[in-house]
């Protein structure tokens, strides 16, 4: 019991550190191009399934929050524009930047724009293969070609927020630069989805 308590305390107080993300060069030794492509996507999955990303990619309803992906507090709904309810939209609290709390540790996250991914781009509880198929499908990815998807992953500001999530939140693994490189290499090897 005492050990369990000590471990829990250590987890709570350990400094947040960015997880690793392996770049495309790590996968060069995989001879088969299709296998390499699938392995590249699996590595991209470290980012795609990270709570910083998935919290705002719910399959329905409202967002979740925190590394344990608990329901958003206060309770919020998706709303017609993926932007919350009348008189209680995302910008009632979130703004164009992360804002440190003045009276407590931590911060409220923000970026312009700040909104939920549409239902068609919901990832919560979806397998990595399912996410892969969805992300490639212009019918579900906001009409994006693979080139546009690369541009989005490599340069979109709201995607980039995942690595700059504000005080009190662990960033997504690696960097947006590596994520963009992985996306490029995955597309260039045929954009194969993992099994």
């Amino acid at each position: 019991m005492r050990i369990a308590i000590i471990v829990a305390a250590a987890t709570l107080t350990s400094p947040l550190s960015a997880q690793e993300l392996r770049g495309p060069e790590f996968f060069e030794s995989i001879a088969d191009e299709g296998e390499r492509s699938a392995a590249l996507f699996t590595e991209m999955g470290e980012v795609l399934t990270h709570p910083r990303c998935v919290n705002c990619h719910p399959v329905t309803g409202g967002p979740t929050q925190g590394d344990d992906m608990r329901p958003h507090s206060p309770p919020v709904i998706r709303g017609e524009a993926d932007f919350g309810a009348a008189a209680m939209n995302c910008n009632t609290c979130h703004s164009a930047e992360n804002v440190d709390f003045t009276s407590a540790p931590g911060s409220i996250p923000g970026h312009e724009p700040w909104m939920l991914a549409p239902v068609s781009m919901g990832w919560q509880g979806v397998s990595l293969r399912g996410i892969c198929e969805q992300i490639k499908d212009p019918g579900r990815n906001g009409g994006k070609t693979l080139e546009a998807l690369w541009e989005h992953n490599a340069h979109d500001g709201l995607v980039g927020w995942g690595w700059d999530p504000g005080e009190g939140r662990e960033p997504a693994p690696g960097s947006q630069e590596i994520f963009g490189e992985l996306t490029r290499a995955w597309i260039d090897t045929g954009a194969v989805c993992p099994e």
């Binding site: 209680m88 910008n91 609290c93 407590a104």
Partner: protein
Amino acid sequence: MTQFIVNGQDVTLDIDPDTPLLWALRDDLHLTGTKFGCGVAQCGACTVMLNGMPRRSCVTPLSMVEGGEVTTIEGMTGPEIEAVKQAWVAIDVPQCGWCQSGQIMSATALLQQSATAPTDADIDAAMAGNVCRCATYVRIRAAIHDAARTLEL
């Protein structure tokens, strides 16, 4: 220096631009109708209008309101706030009162943004971020319906 408009008046404040708007309103401008409840966007007591939209002033640094227009409970005008005020008094909504200016700001914003009478679900969604430790929720909901009737929504 931060320049903005509060309740129709030009205001210039020479304080740290990271200062939350709530602090500036209460401590520097002495507009104490807006309350502090949590400071972390969890209770809604600090709700004001920023450029016509409800906004939690405890997580709004002054730098963000530069050139903007802030309206606090003291400066609210228009048919919606009048209908809300009337309904609040008629139903005797407040208990201790601490959360009430925030509740009234959110309720008024909801009515301003509603083309038709808000349903219970609309009210619950709009008011979900306004916490009342005295649990006046049932009266708040009834009062919003009442105000919507006054406004003939």
